[in-house]
């Protein structure tokens, strides 16, 4: 069915006699970071408490007022550093995918990967952007040879654009190792 569609439907049946808050079938369909955020607002959750790990959010999930997909949405949907659209998100198959379709965004042709970095390393090098320079610099200075590698917990997921060859060559943990190397050897 989906194959010959230009755009997926973004509408769902609403029960006219039922208030929006009580239209469960409809609310379960709400998708996208922005709409889910508004949904949380509708449930009275203040703006600063809408992360996936906030207790108010978890409570809603337990009451079946948020679906797993909606929880994943607030967990994973990140803004594109270039154009501020949300190119990374939960796909229809509940998989994190890259789909920046903004015209002119350089990211649209670059593969994107999400990798885990130990929190201890991140704490020493706080930053949120520029992962791709660190990665490519590290791959260069290691001449592609895998550096030492840590599986220390806890770890945090970061999203990084990679060159198509690197995307093809390295696994997630190998990419993580290069980034750790890059962070440790900055400047």
């Amino acid at each position: 069915m989906r194959s010959n569609l230009k755009l997926r439907s973004n509408v769902y049946l609403r029960k006219r006699s039922v208030a929006l808050q009580n239209d469960e079938a409809f609310l379960g369909q709400v998708r996208g970071e922005s709409a889910v955020g508004k949904l949380l607002g509708m449930y009275g959750i203040p703006a600063g408490h809408r992360r996936h790990s906030d207790s108010e959010v978890i409570a809603l999930f337990r009451q079946n007022k948020l679906t797993q997909r909606q929880l994943n949405t607030i967990k994973w949907e990140l803004r594109c550093i270039r154009c501020d659209c949300i190119p990374i998100g939960v796909s229809f198959r509940d998989v994190v995918e890259f789909r920046c379709s903004e015209p002119g965004c350089a990211q649209s042709s670059t593969p994107v990967r999400s990798v885990l970095i130990p929190d201890s390393i991140l704490a020493g090098h706080p930053r949120t952007t520029g992962w791709e320079q660190i990665l490519s610099g590290a791959i260069q200075s290691c001449r592609g040879v895998l550096p030492e590698f840590s599986t220390e917990q806890p770890r945090t997921r970061i999203v990084v654009r990679v060159a198509p060859t690197a995307d093809w060559l390295y696994s997630d943990s190998e990419l993580s190792a290069f980034i750790v190397y890059g962070l440790k050897h900055q400047d």
Binding site: M1, K6, S9
Partner: protein, 486 residues
């Protein structure tokens, strides 16, 4: 009302039939003869006088060459075009020309002492688009003829023969006219006629005339050393050759005819040209077209997943079906004794339409139409079997994303098959919020599905979606369509 009209508004010829309720009889209205009414119009540039039918056809060349008339043929094929014609006093659109034809048909009916033709069932080809249907309806309307309903041409032909089709589950209508060949496999199921499979080809009478004219052109060129190509011959002269080809083609279908002589006053700089066409040559020129048509027939039956044996009747109608080559080949490749070559094939469609006018049935949907929701599920708006008149529904939707456009995807679904996407509708919205989008759906009397979306954002601008390719079944009133039909 005791008299009911049916109209076959054909590309080449039109026919009107009246059904008399009390006498249970059909009367044909066409030219004296009686032959169907040529669908051709001439407007006198000076007097604005409109003439139509055989008298125009007879002098078509003189009228065209004289330059004092606007002459228009085959208007049915261009009903949805924006083409304009001008005479000194006014401009004409395709609908105006069609309207003149309806007026001429109504006048013919009156001349034969029938009650005035004020309403009729009009037959239309399968697949005629919504714009053409609408133009046809309003053309009839402005000629004072109300279209009671449209009926598809093969269904009308089927109904005209329902007497012979008693207890048949399947029938095939092979309609080979001037502009198109239309083949339909029909099924009768619980009192409904369903067009189970249809196919069409533009290789019909006009195409054959073109083949013949080109052959004649090459013969004349050879004899007289012409170097000009057929397409470069002056349009009027080409038209004359096409006309003469058509005449010769028909003449050679008579049993004792062996050859025809085509005589031209002037052609491509030559004067008084004569060229002979034998029946054998004609048939060799037509061999490919005829076998192509038969091939299509067999494929159609196969695609409908029925066997030749299961088909109760093969009804062969349309002017081009009178080709003797077709009739011969058909008997070979369709060896079953179930072929009907109606004696009055020209009138069958109008006859079926008249019967429908007297016994109005109703259209039911042969497939369901619905909207694909945000979770990719098909939600039927009108399920299979819904009657056209009762197809009205208002649905409410909400936007599941924080977007400024709501997208509705429409789909049609046949039985348990997968739904097929048929189009989409976009409506401006204010983003994710407590907003109801109202979707008003109905099916017009022209059998067009229409959905109008109304959102709070820009409510003054309704967005609508139209779909005119739905499959229908025609429910015949009562249980037996053959009861009253002679």
């Amino acid at each position: 009302m005791a008299k009911h009209f049916g109209i076959d508004f054909g590309t080449t010829n039109s026919a009107v039939v009246v059904y008399d309720d009390q006498r249970k009889s059909f009367t044909r209205i066409g030219e004296k003869g009686p032959i169907p009414f040529p669908s051709v119009i001439a407007v006198d540039n000076l007097t604005q006088e409109v003439s139509a039918g055989q008298k125009v056809k007879d002098q078509i060349i003189t009228l065209r060459e004289g330059g004092m008339h606007l002459v228009i043929e085959s208007v049915k094929t261009i009903l949805d075009s924006d083409q304009l014609w001008t005479t000194p006093a006014r401009t004409w659109r395709a609908g105006d020309i069609a309207s003149e034809l309806f007026r001429a048909l109504a006048q013919r009916a009156e001349e034969d002492n029938n009650p005035p033709l004020r309403e009729a069932v009009v037959a239309i080809p399968i697949g005629m688009n919504a714009d053409k249907r609408a133009t046809l309806r309003s053309a009839a309307d402005s000629a004072g003829v109300k279209v009671l309903s449209f009926i598809s041409e093969p269904t009308a032909a089927f109904i005209a023969h329902s007497g012979e089709l008693r207890h048949c589950r399947y029938a095939v209508v092979f309609d080979w006219g001037g502009g198109t060949l239309d083949i339909s496999v029909l099924e009768v199921k619980s009192g409904c006629i369903i067009e189970r499979y249809t196919a069409g080809s533009p290789k019909a009478g006009d195409y054959i005339d073109d083949l013949l004219a080109r052959w004649l052109h090459s013969q004349i060129s050879e004899t007289h050393g012409l170097t000009i190509g057929f397409d470069n011959v002056a349009p009027e002269e080409r038209h004359i050759l096409l006309n003469e080809s058509e005449k010769a083609k028909r003449q050679l279908q008579q049993e004792d005819a062996t050859q025809a002589v085509i005589e031209l006053g002037r052609y491509a700089g030559l004067t008084l040209v004569a060229q002979t066409l034998t029946k054998a040559t004609l048939n060799s020129i037509l061999e490919d077209v005829v076998s192509g048509a038969l091939e299509m027939l067999l494929q159609c039956v196969e695609a409908a997943r029925v066997s030749q044996e299961e088909i109760g009747r093969l009804i062969v109608v349309g002017g081009t079906s009178q080709l003797s080559l077709l009739q011969r080949e058909l008997r070979q490749r369709w060896p079953h004794p179930n072929i009907i070559f109606p004696r009055e094939a020209d009138w069958d469609i109008a006859r079926g339409a008249a019967w429908v006018a007297a016994h109005p049935g109703c259209y039911r949907m042969a497939e369901s139409i619905g909207v694909v929701l945000s979770d990719d599920q098909f939600h039927a708006i009108f399920p299979v079997n819904t009657k056209q008149e009762s197809a009205r529904s208002t649905l409410h939707f909400g936007l599941v994303e924080d977007a400024t456009t709501a997208t509705f995807n429409f789909a049609a679904r046949n039985g348990d098959e997968r739904a097929t996407h048929i189009g989409e509708l976009h409506t401006p919205c204010f983003g994710f919020r407590d907003e109801l989008i109202e979707l008003d759906c109905h099916i017009t009397s022209d059998l067009v599905f229409e959905a109008n979306a109304d959102s709070e954002a820009k409510p003054q601008r309704k967005r609508s979606f139209k779909y005119d390719m739905l499959r229908w079944m025609y429910e015949v009133p009562g249980s037996d369509i053959s009861q009253e039909n002679p």
